[in-house]
């Protein structure tokens, strides 16, 4: 598997990373080096190994349907750079 300049541009855009045009080609090279390194794992035959879903052998923990949290709007918005009346405020986004 390898990536080209266009893929890097698209992935950067999806991840909201600002990437200058001249950095795309070098980044593609870097990523390809990493991908090639990881691909070495393909040399191991895993055809008889169950896919691992967790490093611990336990089942999904569940909670009861009880309200145990909330009612602390001030704490929730405390670190927001902008806000009013316990709303978060963000630059206007309209469809």
């Amino acid at each position: 598997m390898s990536v080209d300049k266009d893929t890097v541009r698209r992935v950067a855009r999806l991840a909201r990373l600002a990437f200058p045009e001249e950095r795309l080609e070098p980044m593609a090279k870097e990523l390809n080096t990493i991908l090639a390194w990881v691909e070495q794992l393909n040399e191991v035959d895993t055809s008889k190994v169950e896919p691992m879903t967790s490093v611990v052998t336990m089942s999904l923990k569940m909670r009861d349907d009880v309200v145990t949290d909330g009612a602390r709007a001030e704490a929730v918005v405390q670190n927001a750079p902008l806000g009013e009346d316990n709303y978060f405020a963000v630059p206007k986004v309209v469809e």
Partner: protein, 492 residues
């Protein structure tokens, strides 16, 4: 994802300049799970609180917070799956759906992509005219709702409220088995009835508890499927029908004009009644799903499914069948009564121990008619089931005539009160005293000798005499008794 239709018949067709067109529709319905707490946090799922009051640090995606699943939400999804006669998957997994939006603080939505909790099922959609269409269900999966953005509070800022963020949703995906705007609206209506019967979603479309994404494409009858467009967030049955009508026509016009349909996400503008492109969504389609490392697979056993199954209420289709079988109602009347669980319960109270067909007539024609006219729900009816039952009883035992019953209903509706007391107090009891009726008949005959001659030549004139006698007795005479007496006296 491309789904295969299970529909084998050809649906209703639309006319185009180059011939007939078939519309192919599939729907994704988001139904909010009825639960006290959210899917992965202990914050309240209740609608309408102060901004960010129903938010835990998990919902706000604070670093280090971990999701723990709500058992009851899983049960609700399984219950819904059983109501859709669907395959229940005892093992399913959660994935992250990645995209950036201000009301999605984690930058991803926890959803189920590859292995949903519920697989294939079917919904029977009843169309006016008696046709029943089986609509295939592709899957149902659990996922989180996002928060809400308000755009009208500030000139250049949007305000974000995370109260909805993390509330459990069921996304119910149909196969592309619908063929017209009417079928699409009827499907949504039936789905809403099912989840409301099950108590898994309140179906409140105004509050957004249920909303639909509608996939529309057109093709020549029997031809290959066309390219589809997805219309997002349509929030009423009427809008679903309007959106499909508009979108199908738009696509037919483009193809017949020599163009091609571009697969895209569109928005329905309910004010203008049209759909338009949502350009911002175009490049967001790459959601880069991957298994959520914070959550283990969701697993349960047969005993869990059996326990949920044992708690299922009577579903709309079964209730309809029972109303037809036990009460002798027509399938149409039964269908009207079962559309809402509250209506069905109301009817059963009215019909209990009484003439069920008469009860159905009164509930459907008088009560529903009046409720519709005044835009009231059955819960707001000023006439209770017991009161309407009392009216039905009085008609059945000839205490009042059907005509007087309508007056009694009117009084009970506008002024309230017990119908039996109304009849008693206002002297509305049907006159069954044959002597009094005979006096009235004699009086009318004596006053109209000419009409008597006419009636002898033309027996259908007898009806006029019956009408006059009813008038004479203030509508209280038993019409059947009057009829018999008039025929006898006129020698017909």
């Amino acid at each position: 994802m491309t789904f295969v239709t299970t529909r084998t018949d050809t649906g209703p067709l639309l006319d185009g300049a180059t011939g007939k067109w078939e519309v192919v529709i599939g729907m994704e319905v988001h139904a909010q799970v009825l639960s006290k707490a959210k899917l992965f946090s202990g914050a309240s799922a209740e609608f309408g609180a102060e901004p960010n009051a129903h938010v835990s640090f998990v919902d706000a995606a604070m670093p280090g917070m971990l999701p723990v699943i709500n058992r009851y939400c899983v049960e609700q999804a399984v219950r819904t799956g059983l109501g859709l006669k669907a395959k229940i998957n005892k093992r399913s997994t959660f994935d992250r759906k990645n995209y950036f939006y201000p009301d999605l603080p984690a930058g991803y939505q926890i959803s189920q992509y590859k292995d949903p909790v519920v697989g294939e099922g079917v919904v029977i959609v009843d169309m006016p005219g008696g046709k029943s269409i089986p609509v295939g269900i592709e899957r149902l999966h659990l996922e989180q709702d996002a928060g809400k953005s308000l755009h009208d509070q500030h000139p250049d800022e949007s305000y974000v409220d995370l109260n909805r963020a993390g509330v459990a949703l069921m996304e119910i995906v149909s196969k592309p088995d619908l063929r017209s705007s009417e079928e699409a609206a009827a499907y949504l209506k039936k789905l809403r009835a099912i989840v409301r019967y099950l108590g898994t979603c309140d179906g409140n479309m105004d509050e957004g508890s249920m909303r639909a994404d509608v996939n529309v494409s057109v093709r020549k009858p029997g031809g290959p499927l066309g390219t589809r467009c997805e219309i997002k967030n349509v929030n009423s049955m009427r809008f679903v029908a309007a959106a499909v009508e508009y979108e199908a026509r738009r696509q037919i016009d483009i193809i017949e004009g020599g163009g091609t349909i571009k697969q895209e996400t569109r928005l329905f503008d309910s004010k203008k009644g049209e759909t338009r492109s949502m350009r911002s969504k175009e490049e967001a389609h790459d959601y880069r799903y991957f298994p959520d490392p914070d959550l283990l697979p969701l697993e349960f056993d047969d005993a869990f499914v059996a326990r949920v199954k044992a708690s299922l209420p009577e579903l709309p289709d079964d209730k309809k069948e029972r109303f037809v079988r036990d009460f002798g109602l027509s399938p149409y009347d039964a269908g009207v009564l079962i559309a809402e669980r509250e209506s069905a319960d109301f009817f059963e109270q009215v019909a209990k121990g009484r003439d069920a067909k008469l009860a159905a007539n009164w509930v459907i024609n008088e009560l529903f008619g009046r409720l519709n006219k005044e835009d009231k729900s059955i819960a707001e009816s000023p006439v209770s089931a017991a009161a309407l039952g009392s009216i039905v009883s009085m008609i059945s035992d000839n205490t009042i005539s059907g005509k007087i019953a309508k007056d009694v209903f009117e009084i009970a509706w506008t002024e309230g009160g017990d119908p039996a007391a109304i009849v008693e107090k206002r002297g509305l009891k049907q006159v069954t005293d044959m002597g009094a009726i005979e006096t009235a008949v004699d009086k009318v005959i004596a006053a109209n000798p000419q009409k008597v001659e006419q009636a002898k030549a033309k027996p259908s004139m007898a009806g006029w005499f019956v009408g006059q006698v009813m008038k004479e007795t203030g509508g209280k005479a038993n019409p059947q008794a009057v009829n018999e007496l008039v025929m006898k006296k006129l020698g017909l």
